[in-house]
């Protein structure tokens, strides 16, 4: 299909607008994080005086570093648990016929759709009673619960794409069902697993609602919640610079995560399994 100059211009404009809308707020925050306190409110896009003071400030206290460790730890643990469980469940959903399968799929969709805000209050009560409040587990449990439906849905789509004959071949080659899963099916579904892992991790990383409601100290408070507790150096000073610096810092792992795994998310890994 030949594209005319007019079409190119139309699409180009649309793309530019979309990119600008997404990138300007991010650049603004980056810019603010490099401004010093005196020029913070000068309303210029590029900082007149560059400073790393804001970054030094947030790393000077343990408040932010603790939160960062909590965020990474809770995010990774939740992701690993959710992906492992979801891959097994998704395999069952994609391959096996068992009673209550449609109920299971329906329930998981229901959980994914459930408004999180309505769960916060009961969860708060339950976790306080169980003594889980303000621990890593307090956040890992709801994160896994919300990550699972997402994982089951994405992964079962991937498993369905894998030819069933591969599994039969593995069985004929002497593999137990578990070996067939771990040695043949799971490696082939790796792109799906990485996609799921990224989605679940981003969900955990970005969550503010559970983090603010189910924690109270730096023991388990994650970065999004911790940023809310930032204070200026004096009562009359806004912590804008610190907040922006912290925001930039927590964006970095996500970018790294996506860039790293993007190389794995290549289509066509299954090509060649069967005659094309």
């Amino acid at each position: 299909m030949a594209t005319t100059g007019k079409q190119k211009a139309t699409w180009g404009t649309a793309n530019t607008v979309a990119i600008l809308l997404a990138i300007i707020p991010v650049l603004w925050i980056v810019s603010l994080s490099f401004k010093d306190a005196s020029t913070l409110t000068d309303a210029t896009f590029w900082p007149k005086k560059w400073t790393l003071e804001n970054y030094r400030g947030i790393f000077a206290t343990s408040e932010f570093t603790h939160a960062l460790i909590n965020s990474i730890g809770i995010g990774l643990i939740s992701t690993v648990i959710a992906v492992v469980l979801a891959s097994m469940a998704a395999y069952a959903v994609a391959r096996l016929r068992f009673p209550g399968k449609s109920v299971l799929i329906g329930m998981s969709l229901l959980i994914a759709m459930f408004p999180a805000i309505s769960l916060v209050t009961p969860l708060f009560g339950i976790e306080r009673t169980l003594g889980l409040f303000d621990t890593w587990l307090a956040l890992i449990i709801p994160y896994v619960a919300f990550g699972l439906p997402l994982g089951v849905y994405t992964l079962s789509a991937f498993f369905r794409e894998i030819p069933w004959e591969l599994e039969k071949a593995a069985k004929m080659d002497g593999a137990t069902p578990f070996q067939a899963f771990t040695k043949v099916i799971a490696p082939l579904a790796a792109p799906g697993m990485f996609t799921t892992a990224i989605l679940v991790f981003i969900f955990c990383w970005n969550d503010f609602l559970f983090a603010i409601s189910l924690t109270s100290t730096t023991r388990a408070r994650t970065v999004p919640a911790a940023i809310g507790f930032f204070t200026g150096s004096s009562q009359f000073e806004q912590p804008t610079g610190s907040i922006c610096a912290a925001s930039v810092i927590i964006t970095i792992p996500i970018i790294v995560f996506v860039l790293f795994f993007q190389r794995r998310i290549v289509a066509g890994l299954t090509s060649g399994a069967v005659k094309g």
Partner: protein, 395 residues
Amino acid sequence: MAEIVLNDVTKRFPDGALAVDRVSMEIADGEFMILVGPSGCGKSTTLNMIAGLEDISSGELRIGGTVVNNMAPKDRDIAMVFQSYALYPHMTVRENMAFALKLAKVPQQTIDQKVEEAARVLDLTQHLQRKPANLSGGQRQRVAMGRCIVRDPKAFLMDEPLSNLDAKLRVQMRTEVARLQRRLGTTMVYVTHDQTEAMTLGDRVAVMRSGLLQQLDSPAELYAHPVNLFVAGFIGSPAMNFLPAKLEEGCLRTAIGDIPVTDQLRQNLESKKVEREVLLGVRPENFEDAALVSPENKPRGVTFRASVDVVESMGSDIFAYFTLGTEQTVTSAELDELAKDSGRAEVGGGDGLQVVARLDPASTVKEGTDSELWADARSIHVFDPASGENLALAR
């Protein structure tokens, strides 16, 4: 290596569909057995039951003297080639072939030795480090066979292994499969829907139709003495021609003339109490251009005139297609099924009866002209249209 014995093996799916109905056969050690039939006849299900990929609803399956009904595939020690090859795309050719041995915890040195040996036999040595995606269809097919060979299994199972190859490669691989099996001497069960493959490869061929075993015989025997209409129509290419006939005054009245009834046929007709309507089966090569038939042979057949519609010259043979006008119609469920399977039902025969004859290349028949043709009465088959049974057989 081992023999495989099926004793009244039946498969009934949970939805009640009967896929395989009391199939019994004994596959001898080292035999090349073919399961052939149209799609949905239960041949692949039978193979999957031998493999252990499908449960056996009832009956008994023995491999090498052991009942394996409830044994997992991995404990049956048999290897299988799938229609799609099912190569592991994330593994190299070497890893693909070594996979089964690795699972069996064979020492690495033995694995390397066996894989290299198999690769040499199959001409895959220079491809060992490549992934399946980078191989051609024929190479993938050979890797799939290599995966079986390295294990020295009791039996090979092949599920339409050549149907994904193009026509030329298929013929080439067919010879290769036959040579490999002779060389290894391993029992082989081979499923195909292609009667040419069945005829050329098998020591014996089992023809199946809607879950039932129709006939189990050597290819030559199937061709010469089909037990029923279905086998007669399925085996042979081009397919056997079927002509309606009426029994009258000791001979068979047909559109190509009257054919005398043999003693064997008369006996069978009497014992079976068949109606007067029967179906004649004439193979294309049993026709000949009347001008080329020697005078002493002529009385052994019937000579008739027909208008030839199409002449296809193949060099070694001439195929002449003609239509016989006839008021007689005999229908048979088996023939309908064959027609559906070969796609003839969709094409539509038009009025009259389409017949194909295979003539000597010296024949001078021309399209659109009336020609004199001859049919050999000695090799004509007579079928009961109701049961499909071959009435000319002495059994």
